[in-house]
Assembly symmetry: C2
Homo-oligomer: 409 residues x 2
């Protein structure tokens, strides 16, 4: 131990050492926002946060005790990059029920779904390579792929999800590395890709030899209607499917997964080796224990009931409190809806006022990767706040919008 | 639920979609090897694996129960990219005792040290950019940075670690993004960078305006001699320091950290947001609980005692069982030593025979990022196997080497 040394050194100009790709890397607006909205008196519709009071805490404690008493030497040790084999088997079986027929050797466990997006960027995106998405699209995907200097080209979405028929036109001028689709209960838009559009998307993908990335974090959280066919079931040869426990179990454990054709799964394993060796063995085994004991299934049923109520509460409150000229989507599941204030309201500048009223959301502009859009739109999360807080928060937001309209904002 | 759809599709030629960087990505020889060496009758010196029988299992179970009873809503929820604040405070304080005076806001928690290497690659390495290391050097770093198409230039090491005085010559023809140093109980070489060389390295770095990446996974595991000054204490303005709980607590939790000057720490936070949002909240809080209760300190003392005995057993066994012309390093700590069979033995081809004798190691050639080397060398881990197994394994390896010499290998 030799104590402090006072540096006599000149300051370092770090800028000149940075890789070119850092120029396209930005902090996520949402994650920065989350810091503000953690203040206890703010009603936040900003995060994508599951209801913490519904976490299956006792069951997780049982899992921890069991694992540490019977399998500690495995649970706390290094493990394989591919992921805990029983968990991969569970996932392969449960996806087969949705028509996705891949074995456990096609599954890779990831450190949350965000890592899946990062690994996909790493193996597919050269600087300037094009990714096709809809607009708006998921912010975390934009962030992951901007770090690999992706360029984006987009088609709009409507109540039936991505307008896939517009892809063909786009493809004429924009050869793409892959198409990113979030078919169920879209983040941020809350809409679901219709069955005919799923089939049309697959036809287009086959005709143009395109890869499809299907991101499905919320698929199990359906509150209305019937499950639709996953794209990975329609086009298993060219679809990379992403799942996660963050919304159905808990996000703090960071357990996601990728299902991919063998060649690509092997590339993703290589990329993950360099990225973090493997996902927490302990967290994987906790998730596996909860899943294998049938607790996950029961828990998801409870979540569906609770979130459905919150969603309906939000829809009712929007109807009641928001001024004429506002509009919003009516999701069939998931965590979000997409609401638009009347034309002329700028949801980005209005956020400051909303925070003064102790209510938060994510401004729509953040979800547009290429062209500008969503100026009067906002993403509203309905899973985190309890129903009475949702009523109050939507009320406050309605007043904020009325103020903005009155002030000519 | 709509059941299976049989694809009518032509197979996809994935190759044409892959990013250029995938050409420099390879599976880690060690991680592939680990799969073989998990067979129960193989005595493995191949991994970098802590002794599982020494994990503080009961204390971890206490931590889990406490956290799930009192802080479950936080422990299982999303958290900030920067990492759990009390853990960052603990780390800042404990590093201050080694002369590294950075506050908690300069600490970033990572998903193991491997992620730290990946994030450093992401923000510093443009395709073709040069990284300076010693030869041999840590395989995980090579793997992480090859994925960003780094090129490597190296200087040899000796018993005092990296021959830093050779860097100046190298720099004349090789402008570098940074110098990677593993000063304490080097992986794979087991040697320690001497105090004069640390100071010389800092002089060179200041004269040439170089960034230093100091990787210190084993620093707390010293069995002989006095702690030396961390490079981050000598040159805080230009050093990025990497630590981990993988060797001192358990690797299954995947908790590492980076300490860096403010500008760079902010860049690393951005990179991590896109990479995995944040490290497992639960695992961070377990590690924090163990650290704050003083258990980590006691545990590290036990590890030092146990691993010291294993290291000495290995050194004695090498002396006893290996043929003349062999040599090895004598570490002052850590998990590895570097052993050389007599000239002419090819440690890579010999591995197959060694595995037939149910003993494993990592061939030296894997640790050379640029030029060829280490043909008769192997990395031997002494932390995972119990002393009696170390004796037996080194005996078997000695026989394998004698056979190789007799066979003219």
């Amino acid at each position: 131990m030799t104590g402090t040394e006072q540096p006599l050194a000149a300051p370092v100009n770090w800028q000149r050492f940075l890789a070119e790709r850092t120029q396209s890397m930005k902090s996520s607006a949402i994650r920065e926002l989350l810091k503000i909205t953690q203040l206890p008196d703010v009603i936040s519709f900003a995060g994508g946060i599951p209801a913490p009071e519904l976490f299956p805490v006792r069951e997780i404690e049982e899992a921890c005790s069991y694992l540490l008493r019977h399998e500690a030497k495995t649970a706390l040790q290094y493990s394989t990059t591919e992921g805990h084999p029983p968990l991969r088997e569970f996932l392969a079986e449960s996806m087969a029920r949705y028509g996705i027929h891949h074995g456990p050797d096609n599954v890779l466990i990831t450190t949350g779904s965000q890592q899946a997006l990062d690994l996909i960027g790493k193996i597919f995106i050269d600087p300037g390579a094009r990714v096709l998405t809809c607009r708006p699209t998921y912010l975390g995907a934009i962030q992951a792929w901007r770090a690999y200097q992706a360029s984006f080209a987009t088609v709009p979405l409507d109540d039936d999800g991505m307008q896939v028929e517009l892809l063909e036109d786009l493809l004429r001028t924009n050869p793409a590395r892959f198409v990113y689709v979030l078919p169920n209960f879209h983040n941020p838009a809350g809409v679901t890709l219709s069955e005919p559009r799923r089939r049309r998307l697959v036809e287009i993908a086959r005709a143009h030899d395109l890869i499809l990335v299907e991101d499905d974090p919320y698929g199990a959280l359906r509150y209305e209607g019937e499950d639709l066919t996953p794209i990975a079931a329609l086009a298993p040869e060219r679809t990379i499917y992403l799942g996660t426990f963050s919304k159905t179990l808990t996000p703090g454990l960071r357990i996601g997964w990728i299902v991919a054709p063998t060649d690509i799964r092997q590339r993703l394993v290589q990329a993950k080796q360099g990225a973090d060796l493997h996902t927490s063995t302990f967290d994987q085994m906790i998730a596996n224990d909860i899943a294998q004991r049938g607790i996950l299934k029961v828990h998801v049923r409870q979540l569906r009931q609770a979130y459905r109520e919150r969603m309906l509460t939000m829809l009712d409150s929007l109807e009641e409190f928001w001024p004429e000229g506002s509009s919003w989507t009516h999701p069939q599941g998931g965590l979000f809806l997409w609401a638009r204030a009347p034309e002329g309201v700028n949801a980005l500048t209005m956020l400051k006022v909303a925070l003064e009223h102790r209510v938060a959301y994510v401004p729509g502009v953040n979800f547009y990767p290429d062209e500008d859009g969503g100026h009067n739109a906002m993403r509203l999360n309905f899973s985190a706040a309890k129903p009475e807080m949702i009523v109050e928060g939507i009320h406050r937001l309605g007043m904020t919008i009325r103020d903005a309209l009155a002030g000519g904002a």
